[in-house]
């Protein structure tokens, strides 16, 4: 697990500046900090609790699943295990991915086994202080609000904390 965490740090594509990292160091003094593995969808900064994350992979060969809802991007082969990939853009109501956007797999553990979330770009693993947390404002798009636990008000940006169970539910949208 530890080595995997290392991998994840190594695989990070152009971390978004050192601000989060500095903050993470400062936050470590508090006991109840939560660790988030972060990623980007367009310019939105989102995060999944580290303990839910199994691994991060670059673009994988996707096999589409006919008749499945559009939120199901397809199936990937994860070392012999077949894992469903969720198109997080579709799931969260973001516009369809433009050609040429990088496609990363963030594999998270759910009640139904591992599920891959397709995201644009992977960010750092950061520590966040609980007092920065706030529920999502009601003006946020319903589809997005339904799958987020809330927002962490970081110094220079907002981190949307994703609820992995909700985000990986594809059978019924909304």
């Amino acid at each position: 697990m530890d080595s995997r965490k290392e991998d994840r740090r190594v695989s990070v594509s152009s971390p978004p500046g050192g601000e989060e990292r500095r903050q993470a160091t400062a936050d470590r003094r508090h006991d109840q900090n939560r660790q988030y593995a972060t990623f980007f969808l367009d310019d939105h900064f989102l995060g999944v609790e580290v303990r839910r994350v199994q691994e991060v992979l670059t673009t994988q060969g996707l096999t589409r699943v006919p008749l499945a809802p559009p939120t199901v991007a397809g199936l990937i082969n994860l070392r012999g295990q077949i894992v469903m990939a969720v198109d997080l853009r579709a799931r969260l109501g973001f516009p369809t991915r433009t050609e040429g956007t990088a496609l990363m797999n963030m594999v998270v553990q759910t009640l139904d086994g591992p599920v891959s979330l397709l995201v644009d770009r992977i960010g750092d693993v950061i520590d966040v202080r609980p007092d920065l947390f706030t529920p999502s404002p009601e003006t946020v798009d319903e589809r997005l609000r339904a799958v987020t636990e809330g927002v962490y008000k970081l110094k220079d940006r907002l981190l949307l904390a994703l609820n992995t169970e909700a985000a990986t539910q594809v059978a019924v949208s909304g």
Binding site: G61, T63, R64, V65, P66, L67, A68, P69, T71, V72, G74, L75, I76, N77, G80, Q81, I82, V83, M84, L111, D112, G113, V115, T168, Q169, V170, A171, V172, S173, G174
Partner: protein, 739 residues
């Protein structure tokens, strides 16, 4: 008698493990007298032996184990200190236990000699007296390995001064004993092995593909690896095989209880209990089989007076037979009961609107019998305690088809009913035909493949159309034809493929058979046959009935495995549904993928509300007596199958009307995840329906409800089971998943 022997054998294997540890543990205990874990482990082993002895009727073993247990209990409770002298006496008891076990393994019964001396010294220890000197010597002498019973017997006889009878002579060059020739292996490890072999098969396929492509000189080595892999696969597969007896052994009791409850006299005859099949399959047929047996006793076999009046023996017979047939297992369930009244089945089907009167008259007897597999058709005159609770023959059929099997029924009125279940030997690795449609590859299980047909347009061969339904003349018969790309909704004609094909004027039809029907499936390309490893789809995708699973191909890509039954169903739907496509579009906006058809269990709350849950999530239906419900750790539980089942009340978890009175019997729906179960108490269990799940978003403030749908004209709430369970038993699902 045979059963008893089996029980004894299992008991011996179980004991051998514990007893093997005992010597070591006692010796360790001498050194660290205060180690509670050691004491607990020893105590457990002895306790298990004692418990099973009483059951198997082994008085000598029981009495020794019983006193030894009492001594150990005192030590455990710190009422007695652990001294070397006492351990010696206990070791003496262990030796006697071993001796008796060895004798049991040899002859099937306890030795004739008596063990009063050992017993007395144990009693002495128990009463706090110093043990008799002679006996402690016996104990010390007897740390002898189990596999040398002849030495042990001799030594013991000497030590006891010949007071005891000589144990029955034992052949020295005996074959391996049951406990030595078999070991227990963790099922998880077996599953892992199976997965690894699956991976190996894939790698092998990949390698062979490369070598074929390259026409490599190295192919000799590759061929050898190929053979070894195949053999390894067979061997590992065998480790997962279990005799069907494991499922059957629960039936005699079930039949007895059912027969008694319904005032019948039924003899259960079982043949071929040693027939082996993959443990996952065994698990899968358990419930269908139980259901069929229940049906046979409850509805099939008549009461003794009815039977006598008909001139049959008063005692009914239920005959179960399992046998191998090629790569399939056949299970026959035959009863000599009343049989099925075909006319009644037809009437019932007409009543329920499944059939028009005209269609009913033209139905062949076989077709009419098959109606009983139709959802929503129960011919039981009355709903009894045991069958007719809704989980009917349709579910039996679906479950058997899910594992690639089939079910056939024949029945003669007044003479009995016979069911034939056919299932594949194993599920994990199957031969499959790879086909291409819409640029994607799909696997079709070879078991459903009948033949391949190439329709050559230039030769005047073609697919004909009857009012939108395509058919192909295959040796004089009309074969319905479906198009895989249309069924799956994948675009099959990218970049001039159509023109290419039109030019070739060739169409590939894969002829498939399922449950006695056959149809043709048009695919773009037919590729190789391959051995594929079947992997399950994510639970959320299981609603897609056209897929049976997925597999990984030689090139590492994932391919979906087609469910032939599902394709047939989907294909039939297609014609009827085409006109409704527009209407359905709107619902889809709300329901998303929810417009799939699903088997739902419906039940009522205490008020007028109706609820439904996907049947796939339901483990069992039960009815509990209200006075059996107890409270533990602040929540309601009931003693259930040797465990405590947490109970959730419907009105506590979602805003349902609370009950106005306190009923004595509480119907419950039991859900299981991993090894954990939870019971949901409901007002009344209603029915099982096959409904299109088109969900309307739930009104706000209705926690635990995924949405509403209309079933048979009644608005029904679809429960969010995960939420319901989680709200009543926080952390339950996490634990269940971890387990």
């Amino acid at each position: 008698m045979e059963e008893e022997e089996d029980l004894l054998k299992e008991f011996l294997i179980e004991c051998a493990e514990g007893v093997g540890r005992l010597d070591q543990e006692f010796v360790a205990l001498e050194k660290e007298a205060e180690n509670p874990n050691l004491l607990a482990s020893i105590f457990r082993t002895i306790h298990t032996i004692k418990g099973t002895c009483g059951f198997l009727g082994l008085p000598k073993l029981e009495s020794i184990a019983h006193v030894a247990e009492n001594v150990l209990a005192k030590m455990r409770d710190r009422k007695m200190t652990v001294t070397p002298e006492r351990i010696t006496v206990l070791l003496g008891a262990v030796d006697v236990i071993k001796e008796i076990l060895a004798h049991l393994e040899e002859t099937g019964h306890e030795p004739d000699k008596n063990y009063d001396v050992v017993r007395q010294s144990l009693d002495a220890v128990l009463n706090g007296e110093a043990p008799a000197a002679g006996v402690s010597h016996v104990g010390a002498q007897h740390v002898v390995p189990l596999q040398r019973p002849e030495d042990e017997g001799k030594a013991k006889a000497e030590a006891e001064g010949g007071a005891a009878d000589h144990p029955t002579a034992v052949g020295p060059a005996k074959a391996l004993t049951a406990s030595e020739s078999s070991i227990r292996v963790d099922v998880g490890l077996l599953d892992k092995l199976m997965n690894l072999v699956g991976e190996l098969v894939l790698a092998r396929n990949q390698l062979l593909q490369r070598i074929r492509d390259r026409d490599d000189a190295d192919s000799g080595t590759a061929q050898r690896m190929n053979h070894i892999t195949t053999e390894l696969q067979d061997a590992v597969m065998k480790t997962r095989m279990q005799p069907i007896r494991n499922v059957w052994e629960k039936l005699p009791r079930l039949v007895r209880d059912l027969a008694r409850a319904s005032g019948k006299d039924v003899e259960l005859v079982m043949e071929g209990a040693e027939t082996e099949l993959d443990r996952t399959l065994l698990e899968a047929i358990k419930d269908p089989l139980t259901h069929i047996v229940r049906n046979a006793v409850d509805h099939g076999i008549e009461t003794p007076d009815v039977r006598t009046a008909k001139g049959k023996p008063a005692k009914g017979t239920l005959f179960l037979k399992a046998s191998h047939e090629g790569s399939q297992i056949t299970i026959d369930i035959v009863d000599d009961g009343g049989g099925i009244d075909v006319e009644r089945v037809k009437r019932k089907a007409v009543e329920k609107g499944l059939l028009t009167v005209g269609a009913a008259t033209t139905l062949s007897e076989r077709e009419a019998l098959n109606l009983i597999f139709h959802a929503g058709l129960s011919t039981a005159e009355k709903v009894t305690n045991v069958s007719g609770r809704g989980v009917g023959m349709d579910v039996v059929k679906t479950n058997i088809e899910k594992i690639g099997g089939g079910v056939e029924i024949t029945s003669r009125l007044g003479q009995g009913t016979s069911l034939k279940i056919k299932i594949p030997l194993t599920l994990a690795i199957i031969p499959a035909l790879m086909v291409t449609a819409g640029g994607d590859r799909f696997a079709i299980p070879q078991a459903s493949l009948l033949e391949l047909v190439m329709v050559d347009g230039e030769a005047g061969d073609r697919i004909e159309v009857i009012r939108g339904a395509e058919v192909y003349r295959l040796r004089g018969a009309l074969l319905p034809v479906l198009h895989l790309d249309r069924i799956l909704g994948v675009d099959s004609r990218p970049s001039g493929r159509e023109t290419e094909r039109a030019a070739a004027a060739e169409t590939n039809i894969v002829v498939l058979g399922a449950a006695g029907r056959s149809f043709g499936l048009v695919v773009d390309e037919v590729n190789d046959s391959e051995e594929i490893v079947v992997k399950a789809l994510n639970r959320q995708l299981k609603g897609l009935s056209v897929f049976a699973g997925a597999t990984i191909l030689g090139d590492g890509r994932v391919a979906l495995i087609l469910d032939v039954m599902g394709i047939a169903r989907e294909g039939k739907l297609l014609h009827a549904a085409e006109d409704e496509a527009e209407v359905k579009g709107d619902e889809e906006a709300v329901g998303g993928a929810g417009t799939e058809r699903q088997a739902l269990l419906t039940f009522a709350g205490y008020g007028r509300e109706r609820f439904a849950v996907p049947l796939a999530l339901v483990a069992r239906l039960e009815e509990f007596a209200a006075d059996r419900i107890e409270r533990a750790a602040g929540r309601e539980v009931i003693q259930y199958r040797g465990d405590l089942l947490p109970l959730i009340r419907l009105d506590h978890v979602c805003a349902a009307t609370p009950p106005s009175e306190h009923p004595e019997r509480l119907p419950a729906v039991v859900f299981s995840r991993g090894r954990k179960s939870v019971g949901l108490l409901v007002g009344r269990i209603l029915d099982i329906v096959d409904a299109t799940v088109a969900l309307y978003a739930p009104p706000s403030g209705r926690a635990g409800v995924r949405g509403s749908l209309v079933i048979d004209g009644v608005t029904t709430d679809l429960l969010d089971i995960d939420h319901v369970i989680e709200s009543a038993e926080p952390g339950w699902i996490d634990q269940a998943v971890a387990a």
